[in-house]
């Protein structure tokens, strides 16, 4: 089996609202996948279920042969849309924390990226701006040699100049076997790095295709197709 992630009939309800409805997906290894959809379409919910932060109402999800749990957490590197850094820590301390808990964490890589982005390891996280904290989180997540990267809005809060560096970082820091799933609505910015796209609408998958197929079949960019599918 070559898929890193597969889910069958996955549903999640919050009270009476359905955030995900019968989602069926197969995601192959070695791909960069854009999980695209408007706000509230279920992108974050899906990613959180993959990380066992939310419990599905029904259905099943398998990552690398396991249900979400300790085994999947060893191979999944997750960037949440929230800031989860402890303000009282220094950048170097949070790096040590990751090194302590993740066997696949590469601190050299982390320090290298920090210096590229001019972030001092001895700074306290409290003193960093919101955008800089997001960069630190992304560096932590991309410094792992994981099999699956789940990036929830990785470029939402950073300036356009840093965006390019971050996208390069994502491209450079994952190996051939690993898959990156990133959710965003800033499609134009990331379109060039995507292999596949998944369109989510009201908790349902409306389209799963390779970017090449979209271009050859419709002659449109992903951005243009997105605007068409999700026209308000």
């Amino acid at each position: 089996m070559n898929s890193i992630l597969s889910c069958t009939n996955l549903s999640k309800a919050f009270g009476s609202t359905m955030a995900l409805k019968n989602v069926n997906l197969e995601i192959a290894r070695g791909r960069i996948v854009g999980l695209l959809g408007p706000n509230g379409s279920g992108k974050s919910t899906f990613i959180k279920i993959c990380n066992e932060l939310l419990t599905p109402t029904s259905g099943e999800i398998i990552i690398g042969g396991f249900k979400p749990g300790v085994e999947t957490k060893k191979i999944v590197s997750y960037l949440p849309e929230k800031n989860y850094l402890n303000d009282w820590m220094k950048v170097s301390e949070i790096i040590n924390f990751f090194k302590d808990f993740y066997a696949d964490f590469n601190s050299e890589k982390a320090y290298d990226m920090l210096s590229r982005l001019n972030i001092r390891p001895e700074s306290r996280l409290k003193t960093l701006s919101k955008g800089t904290k997001e960069k630190v989180q992304l560096i932590l997540v991309m410094s792992r040699e994981a099999q699956l990267y789940l990036l929830d809005e990785p470029i939402g809060g950073v300036d356009p100049a840093a965006r390019n560096y971050i996208l390069d970082t994502i491209l450079k820091n994952y190996n051939e076997e690993a898959t990156v799933i990133l959710s965003t609505h800033l499609i134009a910015d990331i379109e060039k790095i995507l292999d596949d796209i998944i369109f989510l609408k009201d908790g349902q998958v409306v389209l799963q295709k390779t970017v090449d197929d979209i271009r050859s079949e419709t002659g449109k960019s992903v951005d243009a197709l997105f605007r068409e599918v999700f026209k308000c």
Binding site: G15, L53, L54, T55, V70, K73, P80
Partner: protein
């Protein structure tokens, strides 16, 4: 992994407790220097010095009670924020079993409660000079030594440890239950705590008729009361340990199977 979690938990909480302990010791030292020994006062008559001494003792008691409350509150906040707040995104995506998170938090909470108690005692030694304290201890020992043997110290320690673990785990379970609600989770946790605590109190009180019965018959003869008291304590410890295990299992199931971080 449990060791690493605990190491990290100590780092995260020490920045609250170390300053707190420093404050207790400094306040104790200052009051000793300013007002001398509060126990050394003239036996009769109201003097200014006596009034001050009483105030010092009163302020000190409030301080010690405050320290114990702060200790408990910090432990509760840590559990809530680091597992169910935004930091939960970090903690629950670590490749660590849920029960290790709970155990780590619990052990460190127990540690700080002990240290807070220890520092409270230490500060008594600072406020009251040791010869005086020794006299009190000797008087106490003379009265009780015949009933206090190694066994009763063991029972007492067990009661203290189990009660502490029990009260912390009740709070953890309440927070985990409150988390099941979609809205007003903090309020729900308070409600759940009242519910859990009521049930637990009811169950633990059922073991006490033994004690009540002998206290009713108490006629000043300590010897008669020692046996039923220690039996009650042992029974209480066993019941509290079972209920604690129940709270732990409940918390673990809820955080593992029903985690819903917003």
């Amino acid at each position: 992994m449990l060791g690493k979690l605990m190491k990290y938990e100590i780092k995260a909480t020490a920045r609250w407790f170390l300053p707190l302990y420093t404050v207790i010791l400094v306040i104790a030292a200052i009051s000793r220097l300013l007002f001398g020994d509060p126990l050394m006062m003239e036996s009769s008559g109201f003097t200014f010095r006596k009034a001050i001494s009483i105030l010092v003792i009163l302020a000190y008691v409030i301080l010690v009670v405050g320290v114990m409350i702060v200790t408990l509150v910090v432990c509760i906040i840590r559990f809530y924020k680091s597992l169910l707040g935004d930091e939960g995104y970090l903690m629950f995506t670590l490749p660590v079993q849920t029960w290790k998170h709970i155990t780590g938090k619990l052990l460190i909470a127990v540690l700080w409660n002990f240290l807070s108690g220890l520092f409270a005692c230490l500060s008594i030694f600072i406020i009251i000079p040791s010869p005086e304290l020794l006299k009190i201890r000797q008087a106490f020992a003379a009265e009780f030594s015949q009933f206090f043997n190694f066994g009763s110290y063991c029972i007492l320690s067990a009661v203290v440890i189990v009660s502490l673990v029990f009260s912390i785990l009740q709070i953890y379970a309440a927070i985990a239950l409150g988390h099941l609600f979609n809205k007003h989770r903090l309020l729900a946790s308070f409600g759940m705590y009242i519910a859990i605590n009521t049930v637990c109190q009811y169950v633990t009180w059922m073991v006490t008729p033994l004690l009540v019965g002998s206290v009713m018959k108490f006629d000043g003869n300590l010897e008669l009361i020692v046996k039923p008291v220690s039996q009650t304590f042992i029974l209480f410890t066993v019941v509290a340990a079972i209920l604690s295990a129940g709270c732990f299992v409940l918390t673990n199931i809820l955080l593992k199977k029903n985690l819903n971080l917003e």
